[in-house]
């Protein structure tokens, strides 16, 4: 699907885009955010075992959000169940009354929105795309393990989509999450063209 050069360039683009995303998140919550180097997969079956290995049997909350525009796809985020409370404080939810479960879910959805927005906007800027539009974020599964969560994914195991896996951690807090950016097949060509344009420009 991609040539070696294209893949290298994409990796670089993701590095920068995700760095910008982390930076935006950090500014918002005024805390340092650490992120792993993005890993690119072209098949879902390659990404799954990695995720399972990393998250193990711990219960997770998974959310999803779609993006449309020149780039089309969905982001699935796996949150560790712990650490959400600390994040609630950082995000200014704690003094807001209401039942704890609902606050936690709203927070997780807001964080999803922020992360997806930061990452996809960063990517679009790197590729010189116009802005994307986003759907409302939604809860996918709650309290299951990654393996169980992935099992219910509609995405076929061998579908050819671009999957990018990134891990966010908030310095000095228990919070962490794994992002899986899935770019739909029909957008791949657009990405390839954009990458080629960038490569020529260098």
């Amino acid at each position: 699907m991609f040539t070696r050069d294209q893949l290298d360039a994409l990796q670089e683009i993701f590095n920068i885009a995700m760095g910008q995303g982390a930076n935006r998140l950090a500014r918002l919550i005024e805390t340092f955010v650490v992120l792993s180097a993005p890993k690119l997969y072209s098949l879902k079956s390659q990404a799954d075992p990695e995720l399972s290995k990393r998250l193990g049997d711990t219960p997770i909350i998974a959310t999803r959000q779609s993006f449309v525009g020149p780039l089309r796809g969905e982001v699935v985020i796996f949150f560790g169940m712990n650490g959400a409370n600390e994040l609630a404080e950082l995000m200014g939810y704690s003094q807001d009354g209401g039942d704890a479960q609902r606050i936690k879910e709203e927070l997780i959805l807001d964080v999803t929105n922020i992360l997806v927005g930061a990452c996809i906007t960063g990517l679009s800027q790197q590729l010189n795309f116009t802005k994307s539009s986003f759907s409302t974020p939604g809860l996918l599964v709650e309290g299951k393990t990654v393996a169980e969560a992935l099992e219910n994914q509609r995405l076929p195991q061998d579908s050819e989509a671009l999957l990018v896996e990134i891990q966010f951690k908030i310095e000095a807090h228990a919070f962490f999450c794994e992002l899986l950016i899935c770019i739909a097949n029909e957008s791949i060509a657009t990405v390839v063209t954009a990458v080629d344009k960038l490569l020529k420009g260098v």
């Binding site: 918002l28 003094q95 709203e106």
Partner: protein, 431 residues
Amino acid sequence: MSFEQKLLENVLQQISMGIVILDQDCRICFWNEFMQINSGEANAIDKSIFDVFPDLPRSWFKKKIDTVYTIQNMAFTDWKKRPYVFRFPTSRPMTGGLDVMYQNATFSPLTDEKGEVTGVLIMITDVTEVAEQTLQLEQLTARLEHEKQEQKKLIVKLEEAQNQLLQSEKMAAIGQLAAGVAHEINNPTGYVYSNMGSLGHMVNDLLAVIEVYEQQFEKVGDAAVRDAVNKAKEEYDFDYLKEDLVTLVNESKDGIERVKRIVQDLKGFSHVGESDWQLADLHNGMDSTLNVVWNEVKYKAEVQKDYGDIPRVQCIASQINQVFMNLIVNAAHAIEKQGVIKISTGLQGDMVFIRVSDSGSGISTENLNRIFEPFFTTKPVGKGTGLGLSVSYSIVQKHHGRMEVTSKPGEGTTFTIWLPVTQPEEEAGEE
């Protein structure tokens, strides 16, 4: 204003959703009619949103606005997680069940030509209708779930009732069978019993006559006669015959007496026989029962009585005494060498209880479920028929009472009989 601008302004004002534009300090730059009508605030422009909506969660809202400024893209709220952003009266004031307008909100960045965010566009959609329906559905689901649980409980109860019914049906069937058997056996037993009595006497008489013969025989001098008699005596082992005859008759008497008792038990079990409902003093009954079985008890156990203050109880006294007897005899049997049988009584509400505890062997858990079954016994053949408790059970049931048992193997057993002081109208005196 150009025509297009006017048109645009008109659309924004008329559109049936809330539209607000805020700057980074949350000051209102624009808001449309929807907002104005619902908030009742006519002069909102340039005011801080927190002044117009004092109960807006401040830090949460500020963070939302910051998010849009910082990451330059949209943010959302969902009514399921947060019913509303701005507190507006419901859009279904008459027919609805909610008192506020449920809202979904979208926060979008407004950018200038350089891409800088210049304001946040908030769009409020009224989803009260959907929320009403969803909440109603949720309530319905909860109610259905609740009903399902109730039904489950009912089914369990039904099963229990059915088991009880089966148990009493079993009892009734066995009762009928027992009544038949008892009736059939009663007559032959009766004459065998009385014949055995006569036979005993006759044997004694016969032996007395033979004794006289023996004495007279000593005086006979004829050697031939003596030889013939002695030969016959030897041939038929006369001395042994004499002894054995008495033993055999006595054993047979014992045996037929046991048969009689069993038949009586069977009759008791099937309630053939006596049937007088009366107001009885249970303490009297217990004491006379203790007298009857004293032989079984006295070497085994010390009897401790702890009688409470109980009224006379409407019952068939002879049957209740039979229950007492079964319990006391069982208790005595359960004690291997030496122990205590404690008998206590008392009144609770309109029920009296009679409790018989022993310090005997106790009953294992697997047997505990079976002791009320007719013919269930752990006693050696000839000692127990296994009818005592099943008879007692059906007697107590007929009295609209109940029997409880607790037991710890190795420590002892407690049987408690609960009887109503008065019987329900229709049933008393029916028999």
